[in-house]
């Protein structure tokens, strides 16, 4: 049913349609509306049978999910930002144990400095934790990906995160078509794992594996992740057959492959990029957008296919690795290795800074007119003057201090105290 609904509410309803038996939750913005809505659905009995655990930390939220999933329950949780980092140890544990937990990440920056707004620093910091990582571009896609995520997780016995941009999507009210319970029931079979914690058939799970078998276990984890490169498109195709709309998959290109210039991105910014692409194509600039919907496993071959004819690739990403640069950019370069396609790493939207059409037009013009070098790390809309001034000050007086507060002291503003 199509309705005007907040992204978080829509996702909560989609999750409920998947009939999770255990939901564990801990509050962190901007994920809170999702688990609040699920609490309502459990309390009113609309989602039943389901146990809702409001725990004392994100670490406990995922730990409870691990116990519940190992006991054979379909299990869901959600988090963001610092919460995802606080889960880090349990993230690796869940994937290592092959537990098909589904988790929403309402993507948000990581501190310090503390910042509650959207970027992809959270999920990118955990990119190699063994979870399948899907990215939603719209709230409709977030809804659809959650339904697909449970099917994917349970088929491959791997945990799955569905990433949706914090606030930009979670708090946006827009039209969403929610599937019916009958549709979801037909698409998603009951959860029937091979091994569960059952007194009728006792198993030991989580034993200490030594050097004689550890590598093999890890290789099997990798092999299962790589199988997702086949399973993700198949489930997306099955979903389209069942629900009548395309959603998910590994990649999507707009408007078509084969453009001279391709902008690669993940998540909601693709909507803005598509509009810029339309405007530039109207001016006969041959540009296209490539959206990555599945970041882990990395669809290397598919990306190589999609980009190999391009004359240049711009990777616009909402996170970066301090000390080296672009993260998605590195992955794209790997996909293009041996091909003469220059890659431009552009970091944008950190800590919620808006990515505007105007800035994107400027960026595209700079790239097309060779005012930016490939392989040079570029920050969109950077206040260069402020950064240069602070770097200069530090070079004159190299003493340690917190970055953000150093700037304040430099401009004569003291945040606390009377002098």
């Amino acid at each position: 049913m199509r309705s005007q609904i907040e992204g978080s509410q829509a996702v909560a309803r989609a999750v409920a349609l998947c009939r999770p038996e255990v939901v564990s939750a801990y509050p962190i913005s901007p994920q809170t509306h999702i688990v609040e809505a699920l609490s309502d659905l459990v309390r009113t009995g609309e989602l039943s049978p389901c146990e809702y655990l409001m725990v004392e930390s994100e670490f406990a939220a995922l730990s409870a999910a691990i116990g519940a999933s190992a006991a054979g329950a379909r299990t869901y949780t959600a988090t963001a930002s610092q919460g995802l980092l606080y889960m880090a140890e349990a993230l690796y544990n869940a994937s290592g144990l092959g537990l098909p937990i589904v988790m929403t990440i309402a993507n948000r920056a990581i501190g310090a400095p503390i910042n509650i707004w959207n970027d992809h620093s959270d999920v990118m910091s955990q990119r190699d934790c063994g979870w399948i990582q899907l990215f939603a571009e719209s709230n409709q896609e977030a809804v659809d990906l959650h339904v697909q995520a449970f099917a994917l997780a349970e088929e491959l016995s791997l945990p799955v995160t569905v990433n949706m941009d914090g606030f930009v999507l979670t708090h946006a009210v827009e039209p969403v078509d929610l599937p019916s319970q009958a549709q979801v029931d037909a698409f998603l079979p009951p959860f029937e794992p091979r091994q569960v914690l059952d007194p009728g058939e006792p198993v030991t799970i989580g034993a200490m594996v030594g050097p004689e078998a550890f590598t093999e276990v890890k290789v099997l984890m990798h092999a299962k992740q790589m199988q997702a490169l086949d399973v993700v498109p198949r489930i997306a195709s099955d979903f389209e057959d069942a629900f009548g709309r395309g959603s998910g998959g590994l990649l999507r290109t707009y408007p078509r492959e084969g453009a001279d210039t391709v902008v690669v991105a993940l998540g909601s910014v693709l909507g803005t990029i598509d509009e810029v692409v339309d405007e530039l194509r109207a001016e006969n600039v041959d540009v296209a957008a490539l959206g990555i919907r599945c970041f882990r496993p990395w669809p290397l071959e598919e990306i190589r296919q999609a980009l190999q004819g391009a004359r240049r690739v711009i990777v616009l990403e909402k996170a970066f690795a301090v000390g080296i640069g672009g993260i998605v950019g590195q992955n794209v370069r790997l996909a293009l290795s041996g091909l003469p396609v220059p890659v431009f790493d552009v970091v944008a939207g950190l800590g919620g800074r808006p990515i505007t059409k105007r800035s994107l037009h400027t960026l595209l013009a700079d790239v097309l007119h060779e005012r930016i070098e490939p392989n040079q790390l570029t920050f969109l809309d950077l206040d260069r003057e402020l950064v240069q001034r602070e770097l200069h000050r530090v070079s004159q007086s190299p003493r340690s201090g917190p970055h953000a507060e150093n700037i304040l002291r430099d401009v004569g503003t003291v945040a606390a105290g009377s002098h």
């Binding site: 255990v22 670490f59 116990g67 299990t75 007194p199 989580g206």
Partner: protein, 330 residues
């Protein structure tokens, strides 16, 4: 049999079942016991934790007719019982992480409730480091929510699995790998202490008990009592560690008994935050006898004995005796 048997008439707490009513005999005396932690594991000789865990889990298995699931924290108990591909566990058992066993237990209990399997009960267990330090937030959360989990802490008073480092349960003056008997204040600091049982009681959960491996009948009885309640329960078992305490493997039971008889380790039961039963000291012993049996306190008895430190430890034991009423009424 009308007369109440006092087990100490036999000089030991561990045998004497033939004199008891069948209903009062220990679970371990039953050939039908489940051997939940079965033989072949790799615990050290004289390991108090292995002994305690076997009694706890077999008693819990009997109390639940075998419908039991265990969550285990990282630590000695996990490492010595599950060297892949082997396992000593004869119940469904999950090890996740060091600090999350209470939360994993909560998750298992939630799954069982959702599936209508309320006949299956959950035990979560760990050592003192996993319980009092790294897992403390998860433990408190599980208590506060009153999740249907029996949490068992096997307390050997330090991080034994990683090589005997100090934990929040290490007693004052004890030598560990990072509180060595060097400097002016040898051994562990005299802090404020951290009584997990009292903190558990402050959550007003249905049942809290302490026990030692010196009185295994008492331990079994407390497990059975714990399983009569629904909700969060906490059992804190003192389990001497020959390796970490520097004691003879054959002395594990004796040292556990001395811990109780000195008053250093009060043995009691509490329901909903109120103490309901205290195991009285039968023959009071000065702490020196307990300390001398363990090399972790050897530096107190060197060429220049630290009588000042021993007196402080004795004062702690005396306080426990007053606070919990550990002596028989005169």
């Amino acid at each position: 049999m009308s007369e109440t048997i006092k087990l100490y008439q036999l000089g030991t707490f561990a045998v004497g079942n033939r004199l008891l009513d069948p209903d009062d005999r220990s679970v371990q005396a039953d050939v039908e016991r489940s051997n939940t932690l079965t033989s072949g594991h790799r615990a050290c000789q004289g390991c108090g934790e292995a002994l305690g865990a076997r009694y706890v889990l077999d008693a819990a298995m009997r109390a639940t007719a075998g419908n039991l699931v265990a969550a285990n924290a990282t630590g000695c108990l996990e490492v010595f019982s599950t060297p892949y591909p082997e396992s000593s566990w004869q119940l469904p058992w999950l090890h996740s992480l060091f600090g999350n066993a209470p939360a994993v237990g909560s998750g298992i209990a939630a799954a069982l409730r959702a599936k209508g399997r309320t006949d299956v009960r959950v035990v979560a267990q760990g050592g003192d480091g996993g319980t009092l330090d790294i897992g403390f937030a998860c433990l408190s959360g599980m208590f506060e929510r009153n999740d249907d989990v029996l949490y068992v802490c096997y307390d050997n008073e330090a991080y034994m699995n990683t090589g005997v480092q100090r934990s929040g349960a290490t007693p004052p003056a004890a030598r560990t790998a990072n509180t060595k008997p060097v400097g002016d204040e040898p051994g562990n600091v005299f802090g404020q202490g951290k009584s997990a049982p009292l903190i558990a009681m402050a959550h007003e959960i249905p049942y809290v008990a302490t026990a030692t491996v010196a009185d295994l009948h008492d331990l079994e009885r407390k497990v059975e009592r714990a399983m009569e309640f629904r909700g969060a329960r906490y059992l804190h078992v003192l389990v001497p560690c020959p390796l970490g305490w520097g004691s003879a493997a054959a002395d594990t039971i004796r040292i556990a008994r001395l811990a109780r008889e000195t008053g250093l380790f009060p043995v009691f039961e509490a329901e909903r935050g109120e103490v309901v039963n205290v195991s009285k000291i039968r023959g009071r012993v000065p702490v020196e006898e307990y300390l001398r049996a363990q090399r972790r306190f050897a530096h107190l008895f060197g060429e220049q004995p630290r009588t000042d430190v021993i007196e402080r430890i004795q004062a702690g034991a005396d306080r426990n005796i007053r606070r919990f009423g550990l002596l028989e009424e005169m």
